[in-house]
Amino acid sequence: MTAEEVLAKALAKFPRADKADPVKDYPTLRVSAGDLLGLVRYLKELGFSYLDMVSAVDWKGPVSREGFVRAPGFNALRREASAQAAAAPAAGFRCRDEMTVVYCLTHPSEKLKVFLKTDLPREGGRLPSLAGLFKAADWQEREVFDLFGIVFEGHPDLRKILTPAFLQGHPLRKDYAHVKDRFD
């Protein structure tokens, strides 16, 4: 089984899925939130029995000034140039009110990896949880929930995992602003 065959099989079964901007050298599929669970279940039947990674990307553009806990100092940039100034030329690049959740599934014996991407709105984004199919999704989805605020429906125990309970907001969102707490 090659990567192309997997893609062709998955696309034949789920016509609404599409090839996405590829993660370099790996087959990558874009799938809607509704089709996600079905596609992952189908891939698992094909032998993708190992969930490697669940992560997300926020496309809200460069980091806001308030997002910094401390002043950034860059060796490679002029001293007065802030991170925003450096990121400014690319400010409009891909900047949109969307987040993408990225899944990586592995076929251990065929030596294949496939990436799945699901776009969802930044506010009120919900996805079906994969925890019923892969136990590895348990903590990784909790991490995405904690750091991005994406809700995984059907997750058995969706709680914060890395950040302390008093922390407000979701740190890996691009518009995250740090609220001063007793440790500052």
Binding site: Y50, M53, V57, V63, A76, A90, A136, Q140
Partner: protein, 377 residues
């Protein structure tokens, strides 16, 4: 009128009362700051809730405001017991993003350093695992050897724990002939020591009693929880990134995967001991066939990869370490995610501990060989 007596509470279905035992976060056997909330019934655990995040430094967020070469420094701090492999994973991801290939000599040096790092990391495991179980002597022996590797690293990179040695495009510095001689000397000294560990710890009846048949993880369970590295191979799954998707020319080195059968604590321990022998073989072969040439590819001073996404994974000391990086065309990563092996390896604790004895918790937790710096990032 007589007063009605208060209702006698009915006995619950449980035979004994449940007791909540708090372990950590400052427990010596957690190797860092991990808290596990254990609910026990008598001596048997009925629920285990690991509580992590005490070491969360938000490196993924910090990296979004640092340039790519600065990111290598952050990678040192994920798994601080195995910083070389972290450097390598980060560098490979950025190299793949930019379409850069490290020169052959740099690849060989990366292999040498990563395998020495694997030995150092496994030595740390063997020593501390012995202490966890109650054998204090092996610790002194393994740390004596680990010290020699750290000396080698100090010679080549200038640091003992956080190296920043493997960089984007190659390695920071070439090795000297004296370094190669010292490395060979170390290997000659080290290989007989492995037999010494076997007599000290591996076949010690007390050690065997405490580890054999304890904390058994089947191959299916291991795959479902996303275990990787020696923990997965101990369950008999032949998954090693060095064989699975060879990077840095690993396909050219002769080594075998150390596989376990039972998937118990002893197998996880023994897989690591056997892996050290294989790593020593790789270092020997790499030193033997070290190609001449540059150790750094021609890369620009200010790295600005074209917009895109890349994923690279390596076999770290604790498992499959993956880096997912998104570039928006600027000098800093737009988003970088670390697929940390310890994070996945620790999650299984919720299932593994249930039904086991409280006294075996230390043996099971130690055998997973987690590093909290990587769990929390």
């Amino acid at each position: 009128m007589t007063r009605t007596p208060p209702a006698v509470p009915t006995r619950s279905a449980h035979k004994t009362d449940q007791l909540f035992v708090n372990m950590g976060p400052q427990h010596p056997s957690t190797h860092g700051v991990l808290r596990v909330g254990l609910t026990i019934e008598g001596e048997v655990i009925v629920k285990a809730e690991p509580d992590i995040g005490y070491l969360h430094r938000g490196t993924e967020k910090l990296l979004e405001t640092r340039t790519y070469p600065q990111g290598v420094v952050f990678s040192d701090r994920w798994d601080y017991c195995s910083a070389m492999t972290n450097n390598l994973a980060f560098s490979l991801a950025v190299e793949r993003l930019m379409g850069v290939q490290a020169p052959p000599r740099a690849d060989a040096l990366r292999v040498i350093h990563c395998e020495l790092q694997r030995i150092a990391s496994h030595l740390l495991f063997v020593g501390t695992y012995g202490i966890d179980i109650g054998a204090a002597t092996p610790f002194l022996h393994t740390f004596r050897e680990r010290e020699m590797i750290l000396d080698l690293f100090e010679m080549s990179s200038g640091a003992r724990l956080t190296y920043n040695h493997i960089r984007i495009g190659g390695v920071a510095a070439d090795i000297t002939p004296e370094w190669a001689a010292k490395a060979r000397e170390f290997l000659a000294y080290f290989k007989p020591r492995l037999c010494e560990y076997d007599t000290l710890l591996t076949y010690n009846p007390i050690f065997l009693d405490r580890t054999q048949g304890i904390g058994v993880i089947s191959a299916e369970t291991a795959l479902a929880w996303g275990l990787s590295g020696p923990n997965l191979r101990a369950s008999g799954v032949p998954y090693d990134v060095r064989k699975w998707a060879p990077h840095c020319g690993y396909e050219g080195y002769p080594f075998e995967m150390a596989l376990g059968k039972a998937g118990d604590c002893f197998d996880r321990y023994h897989c690591r001991v056997r892996e050290m022998r294989e790593s020593a073989k790789i270092v020997e072969a790499a030193l033997e066939g070290l190609p001449e040439g540059e150790v750094m590819a021609k890369i620009p001073k200010l790295l600005k990869p074209a917009p895109g996404e890349a994923y690279a994974h390596v076999e770290g000391s604790r498992g499959d370490l993956g880096i997912y990086v998104v570039s928006d065309g600027t000098a800093m990563p737009y988003r970088l995610h670390v697929r940390a092996p310890s994070f996945a390896n620790l999650a299984i604790v919720q299932e593994l501990f249930v039904g086991q004895k409280l006294a075996d918790v230390i043996a099971m937790l130690g055998s997973l060989d987690i590093v909290l710096g990587e769990v929390d990032r």
